[in-house]
């Protein structure tokens, strides 16, 4: 009897040992449900690979992605991904070629097992980003509000614009320069021609040029960007033509200085201390050179009117200049100065947008306090 029991114990231990050995020596299962699909809503420059996560006790410590191009050899295209990853976006594809993928599971014993090869897929660009539909609708509504207000303004409807002190000083600054027989210095800042602040600055400059054309006051514009310089020349020339003073326009007063930020600051400072302009306009996009320019303008006693949408430079302009257009006041300035129906209508349209925003915030606060979160969920989805 004892003999039989001993044999039973030995057999049980043997079976358990063999089962354990078999279990531990087995390779992990290959990654399953591996798919490769063209990444939606992109320009056709990536493919997204997905797979099912390996079970926690599978011993998988990470994954590597292998890719082939046009049915060629497979090669690794990713570093080792974490074991909890189930998605990889391959942004290194070759456009126009088809790619197939294999997901390689790596175990803690440095073994690896490959998944089945996916179907070959070719990335294609999409013309319309479906995730941005709400943004598109918002833009359409915003544009409709602006067009409607422009239409109204052109139909003769009076549009009120509140007083902006910095802009009321423009005539004062130009008049002072004229009386003193000195020039006006106008800087459009460091922005390129496609920058919103630079565009706003150039439209203000056109209005300033109209006034200087009448008074024959020299208007000096040192430019940081050759393209901006060319556009500014065209705008100022037009302003002089419209005022009937093409003879007073001097192209050499609008010149390229340099594209380097601090070399530009050094150059404009030099012009300021040597020519001593009576009025300095610093309008546009500025960076760390803002205080250098504003301080020099202050030291020569010029009337300074600054304006920028660069939040970090506004404090320096406020501290060193006589008047400062803060952020959106810069955009409103051209409408304020010119009183053109198109610009006034556009300004009113933007104000409508602010009313909607105002309402959305107040409504959102009350809804969130009531436990209704669809506004924040919607805004989250838009982003």
């Amino acid at each position: 009897m004892i003999h039989n029991k001993t044999i039973l114990w030995v057999l049980t231990c043997l079976v358990l040992f063999l089962c354990g050995t078999f279990a531990f020596s087995q390779e992990p299962a290959a990654p399953s449900n591996v798919t490769a699909k063209d990444t939606p809503n992109d320009d056709g420059s990536s493919i997204t690979i997905t797979w099912d996560a390996a079970p926690e006790d599978s011993g998988v410590v990470g994954y590597k992605i292998l890719r082939n191009s046009d049915a060629g050899e497979f090669e690794e295209v990713s570093k080792q991904l974490d074991a909890n990853e189930t998605k990889y976006e391959d942004k290194t594809i070759i456009k126009g070629k088809t790619h197939a993928y294999i997901v390689r599971a790596i175990t803690d014993a440095d073994a690896s097992v490959d998944s089945q090869q996916t179907d070959a897929v070719q990335a294609k660009g999409q013309w319309f980003h479906t995730g941005k539909t709400p943004l598109f609708i918002a833009m359409l509504l915003f544009s409709a509000a602006i067009v409607w207000n422009i239409y109204n303004a052109r139909s003769g409807k009076e549009i009120f614009v509140r007083r902006i002190p910095g802009l009321e000083a423009v005539d004062e600054a130009i008049g002072r320069a004229t009386e003193m027989g000195r020039s006006i210095l106008y800087s459009t800042g460091l922005g390129g021609v496609s920058g919103v602040a630079t565009v706003a600055s150039m439209t203000i400059l056109a209005q300033v040029a109209r006034r200087t054309a009448n008074y024959e006051t020299p208007l000096r514009v040192p430019s940081n960007d050759p393209i901006v310089m060319n556009v500014v020349r065209e705008m100022v020339k037009n302003a002089y033509l419209e005022e009937g003073r093409p003879d007073a326009y001097n192209e050499e007063n609008i010149f390229f200085l340099t594209e380097d930020q601090f070399a530009y600051a050094a150059g404009v400072d030099g012009i300021m201390v040597r020519e001593k302009p009576a009025a300095v306009f610093l309008q546009g996009s500025f960076a760390a050179e803002s205080l250098i320019l504003a301080e020099t303008g202050n030291s020569i006693g010029a009337i300074q009117i600054a304006g920028t949408d660069s939040e970090h430079q506004l404090p320096f302009f406020i501290a060193a200049c006589d008047y400062t257009l803060i952020g959106e006041e810069l955009y409103a300035a051209s409408a304020y100065l010119s009183k053109e129906p198109m610009l006034l209508g556009s300004l009113r349209g933007q104000d409508w947008g602010k009313v909607i925003l105002f309402a959305a915030i107040i409504l959102g606060v009350f809804l969130e306090l009531s436990g209704i979160t669809w506004i924040t969920e919607f805004l989250q989805r838009v982003n």
Binding site: I159, V193, S194, T258, F262, G267, D269, V273, E328, D351
Partner: protein
């Protein structure tokens, strides 16, 4: 110390002192440094523009586009590359500025650039400055409802809403700022000024760090190099 390093340190120190001399007044040393700085930066920019702009984005695409038309090159090499000539042609319109008669040509590439810039900027502004900011302003009230926000968090959330709303009213241009609108816009400008004040202090600290770096160079590197003279 290598001779080349020694010379470099002395040139850098001389130019630094030339620029700082502007703090006293405009003088020939400052003018020298200013003109050198402007001239060198223009030269550097032109070189960079040629190698990083003109050659890869105009010169090479141009030759690639017209390659199929060279004798001996098979025509099937592709006509599709010809589209690359369109942006190059638009860019060439900027040279209209060279002749007063054709200056008007500049308007076309300028219009494209301005339109493109605005088109790219507007959706980003809507997303980041409007949608995201609205969400950030409103979202803490969900935590207030859930009872997970501290008293300071609640105060911060309320302050944020008041600040955003009042600042929006300050930037409302098509109504006269009178009565309650005037008061609310004054609260808005107060919020703005508090923000500017903190930004001012923050940036000044950064600038002081830059000054310390330059003074450190003058004391340690430049004055330190005096030993090599003797």
């Amino acid at each position: 110390m290598e001779l080349i390093d020694f010379i470099g340190i002395w040139i850098a120190a001389f130019l630094t002192l030339c620029i700082y001399s502007f703090l006293y007044r405009d003088n020939p040393f400052y003018r020298f440094a200013e003109h050198l700085f402007v001239g060198m930066s223009v030269g550097y920019t032109i070189t960079i523009s040629i190698y990083q702009g003109f050659i890869p984005f105009a010169w090479e695409p141009f030759w690639e586009a017209i390659k199929p038309f060279w004798p001996g090159v098979p025509r099937e090499a592709g006509w599709s590359g010809l589209w690359k000539l369109i942006p190059i042609g638009i860019g060439l319109l900027f040279f209209g500025g060279v002749s007063p008669r054709y200056t008007w040509l500049i308007r076309y590439p300028s219009a494209i650039l301005i339109g493109l810039g605005a088109g790219l900027a507007i959706p980003n502004v809507l997303r980041a400055d409007i949608f995201e900011q609205t969400r950030g302003t409103v979202e803490p009230f969900a935590s207030i409802n859930a009872g997970t926000l501290s008293i300071w968090g609640i105060l911060g959330a309320i302050l944020m809403v008041v600040g955003v709303v009042c600042t929006l009213i300050y930037f409302y241009f098509s109504v006269e700022h009178r009565g309650p609108v005037n008061w609310l816009s004054k609260v808005g400008i107060a919020f703005l000024m508090i923000g500017f004040g903190s930004a001012f202090g923050n940036t000044v600290m950064g600038r002081v760090a830059l000054l310390i770096q330059r003074v450190d160079f003058l004391i340690n590197d430049w004055i330190g190099s005096f030993g090599a003279l003797f």
